[in-house]
């Protein structure tokens, strides 16, 4: 089990009671009023507001206080109609298997919590919004949703059936007071101006303020205004190339960790670029293998972070930092490959992919199959037929243009 001292302060001081959730008192009152009232006028509630202001924390604190079992689906889960029904349907019934166990007798029942509903998009989440609507209509248990941006077009039908509860950025004085409390509990001697600077830099995001406080004061248990001066660079645009250069020339793990935490680069692109450039950085095979091992671990953490579990970012940074510091002494300047090869490849093949997509669309329309099936199961054979007989009536039947026929005949791999 993880020791208390090893925990991130964000987790350690995550409110367990509703009263402990900082700020947004009106939103809290409205939400609790809805939760406690068994005869809801609206069957679901949509909590919305910027990240880090306590939406998820409030739901968890309320669940713990009223003994609700929270059945949660967040952005890291696929939220297609099928997936939502598989999880939510059993959860939204009062009589679940849980009710037969002794411990569950005390429980207040189930609550379905769908976090980051504004993130439901794309083919993977097809039918998700409609499935949620159905669940809300039929549900016997409270359905709670959270979103950062409620104005997404897809959420319009959901907003009609939900009680809307708006969360605002948490104010600077409230964040300062919370940081003061954490400092007291952790035995950190902090200057007021330093806490003030962290709070202002957080822009109302309590989570990032606590993370900043921990990163700056955990080691020395002292915090001065001077220590917080590096915080300003968080909002500066450290370019992708500069971050990459700093990464490969770093002399220690701590250097790289600091650099990464202050840079605003896209983590996915950065990871790809690091992987592309590692063979140039490490010429020794054993060092290269070790570095790639760390990058692969970083990739695993990036996947686990998704769009929600940002508390794992520290581990992502640590793994990347380890990759940069396998052998700091061996660093020699080299020309970086940037942007990532994968991004360049996608850029150069965009025209080809668009043509192939159009061809698959025509095949799909005639044969009543999806683009994917057309690409995987039809294109190879149509290509062979057309290579042997370019003027085959098949081309006319599919309504291929001469350019599309030529593309199919000459295409290499797809």
């Amino acid at each position: 089990m993880q020791k208390q001292s090893d925990l991130l302060w964000v987790e350690k001081y995550r409110p367990k009671k509703i009263a402990d959730v900082t700020g947004n008192d009106e939103a809290k009152a409205l939400f609790l009023d809805w939760l406690k009232n068994k005869k809801h006028t609206k069957k679901a509630v949509l909590l919305y507001g910027p990240p880090g202001v306590g939406k998820t924390t409030l739901v968890m604190a309320a669940a713990s206080e009223y003994n609700f079992n929270v059945i949660e689906m967040n952005a890291s889960d696929t939220r297609s109609e099928k997936a939502i029904n598989a999880v939510a349907k059993p959860a939204t019934s009062y009589t679940s298997l849980d009710s037969f166990s002794g411990a569950a007798k005390k429980a207040g029942g189930n609550v379905l919590f769908l976090d980051e509903v504004d993130g439901i998009a794309g083919n993977e989440d097809r039918g998700g919004v409609n499935a949620i609507l159905k669940i809300v209509e039929e549900s016997l248990v409270p359905v709670i949703m959270a979103a950062n941006d409620p104005d997404v077009e897809k959420l319009r039908p959901l907003k009609k059936v939900c009680l809307l509860v708006r969360f605002h950025q948490v104010r600077i004085p409230l964040i300062i007071a919370l940081l003061q409390k954490i400092c007291r509990l952790e035995g950190v001697k902090a200057e007021f101006e330093a806490l003030e600077r962290i709070a202002q830099n957080s822009k109302g995001d309590v989570r990032s303020a606590i993370n900043d406080l921990q990163s700056l004061s955990e080691e020395n248990h002292r915090l001065t205004l001077q220590d917080t001066l590096t915080l300003s660079s968080r909002n500066k645009d450290v370019s992708f190339d500069d971050t990459l250069r700093g990464f490969f020339s770093a002399q220690s793990i701590a250097d790289t960790s600091r650099l990464l935490s202050y840079s605003n680069v896209d983590y996915d692109d950065f990871l790809l670029s690091v992987a592309d450039n590692l063979p140039k950085r490490y010429t020794d095979a054993a060092e290269l293998a070790k570095a790639f091992d760390f990058v692969s671990k970083a990739d695993v953490f990036r996947g686990r972070i998704g769009t929600e579990n940002w508390h794992l970012l520290k581990y992502f940074f640590n793994c990347l930092a380890e990759a940069s510091a396998v052998n700091p002494a061996s660093y020699k300047p080299f020309t970086f490959i940037t942007p990532p090869i994968r991004v360049i490849t996608l850029f150069w093949t965009k025209g080809k992919r668009t043509t192939l997509d159009a061809i698959c669309g025509k095949i799909g329309a005639q044969c009543h199959v999806s683009h994917q099936i057309a690409r995987e199961q039809y294109v190879p054979y149509i290509r062979l037929i057309l290579q042997k007989k370019p003027k085959s009536p098949l081309a006319a039947w599919f309504k291929f243009t001469p350019e599309e026929v030529n593309f199919l005949v000459t295409m290499g791999r797809f």
Binding site: A19, D20, T22, G23, N24, D25, E26, A27, L30, L164, V165, R166, H168, Q169, R171, I172, P173, L174, I176, A177, L178, Q180, K181, R184, F192, Q200, K203, G204
Partner: protein
């Protein structure tokens, strides 16, 4: 001059029906017996404050309650008012005295 209102109950001059209805739609509640308006929903708070401001012909600010000492205070007293993106809401905050003074320790217990 800024008009400071108490969110739990404030009076407005007699309104035309359309204006009254629009205020109710924006989230105000009206206690017919006491003749007092109060804020019921905070989702359109900016628009609500703007409309009340137009009715009263001046800038409107709601009183804040300090979670430390429990006293009312105005946002004007706060040194972060210029950078605060949530003026008026929530109606509870930490007053400058509590934030820097001895009583801030007491206020922290509430978090």
């Amino acid at each position: 001059m800024t008009i400071v209102l108490n969110s739990k109950g404030f009076k407005l001059p007699r309104l035309e029906k359309e204006k009254f209805v629009s205020l109710i739609h924006l989230g105000l509640d009206y206690d017919r017996n006491a003749g007092l308006f109060s804020i019921k929903s905070y989702n359109n708070i900016e628009k609500l404050i703007e409309t009340v401001g137009v009715i009263l012909g001046d800038e409107v600010v709601f009183q804040q309650i300090c979670i430390g000492c429990g006293k009312s205070f105005g946002c004007k007293e706060c040194s972060y008012v210029e950078t605060c993106s949530t003026k008026n809401l929530p109606f509870s905050c930490v007053c400058p005295k509590c934030l820097r003074g001895q009583s801030s320790e007491a206020s922290l217990v509430n978090f």
